[in-house]
């Protein structure tokens, strides 16, 4: 079981801020494919992953990264702080 978090327009498009996901996905890309296959709203949010960023256990990572021992995955658009 893994905690999946969504922020900004990813959160709005998927319609939730977070959820627990039972998954056997090996990598972030596998998880994205699994979620996208679920429902149209996920497919829409993940249509272009080059427009997205991912953090694993609160550290920026990338879509090829392994999910081994990861407890929290967060998806969001490029950050706009400052």
């Amino acid at each position: 079981m893994i905690d999946v978090l969504y922020f900004a327009w990813v959160r709005e498009r998927i319609g939730l801020p977070s959820e627990k996901v039972e998954t056997g996905a090996q990598t972030v890309a596998d998880l994205v494919a699994e979620l996208s296959a679920r429902e149209e709203r996920y497919a829409a949010a993940f249509a272009d992953t080059s427009a997205l960023r991912v953090a694993l256990d609160q550290e920026l990572s990338d879509f090829d990264a392994s999910l081994a021992d990861v407890r929290e995955v967060a998806f969001f658009p490029p950050m706009t702080g400052g």
């Binding site: 900004a8 953090a55 609160q58 920026l60 929290e72 969001f76 950050m79 706009t80």
Partner: protein
């Protein structure tokens, strides 16, 4: 080193007055204050979302890098989230070093990294609707000069 992430209004002047003075080993203090700007005249407010579990540690990691690279004596980052109206202070950065060039460079570095590596997202609420602020390529390019 101080990092604060908060919804509350703060007074950048008061923060600066209390920052790193009266210690003797600091010769230069630089500060930057970010303010909500309304370019079109119809901005009602900004709504700033963040990733609470990640924000402080991400900023802390940037501050640690700046401290090591420019031998800072102290650093302060305050960043707000929630609803902010035009003219309100969003955030501030202050750096203290022995010399001004280090203090300026470190503040510039921290601003570049806060823009595109701290987990904040801005949404503009105008009289015509709401839209997420998009990251600019120039902001991403700005990071590469610190490599």
């Amino acid at each position: 080193m101080t990092v604060r992430v908060q919804p509350d209004v703060f007074d950048p002047g008061a923060e600066l007055t209390g920052f790193s003075t009266r210690r003797g080993d600091v010769g230069a203090i630089v500060s930057f204050t970010g303010v909500v700007r309304d370019d079109t005249g119809d901005l009602e407010r900004l709504e700033i979302e963040h990733y609470p579990a990640m924000t402080k540690q991400a900023i802390g990691a940037m501050v640690d890098k700046a401290v090591a690279r420019w031998a800072l004596k102290d650093a302060l980052v305050i960043h707000r989230y929630g609803a902010l109206e035009p003219g309100e202070v969003i955030m501030m950065v202050a750096t203290a070093a022995r010399h001004r060039k280090d203090a300026f460079a470190a503040a510039d570095f921290l601003m570049d990294f806060l823009k595109s590596r701290a987990p904040f997202w801005k949404k503009e609420i105008t009289r015509r609707g709401a839209s997420w602020v998009e990251a600019k390529e120039a902001d991403e390019d700005a990071l590469s000069r610190w490599d």
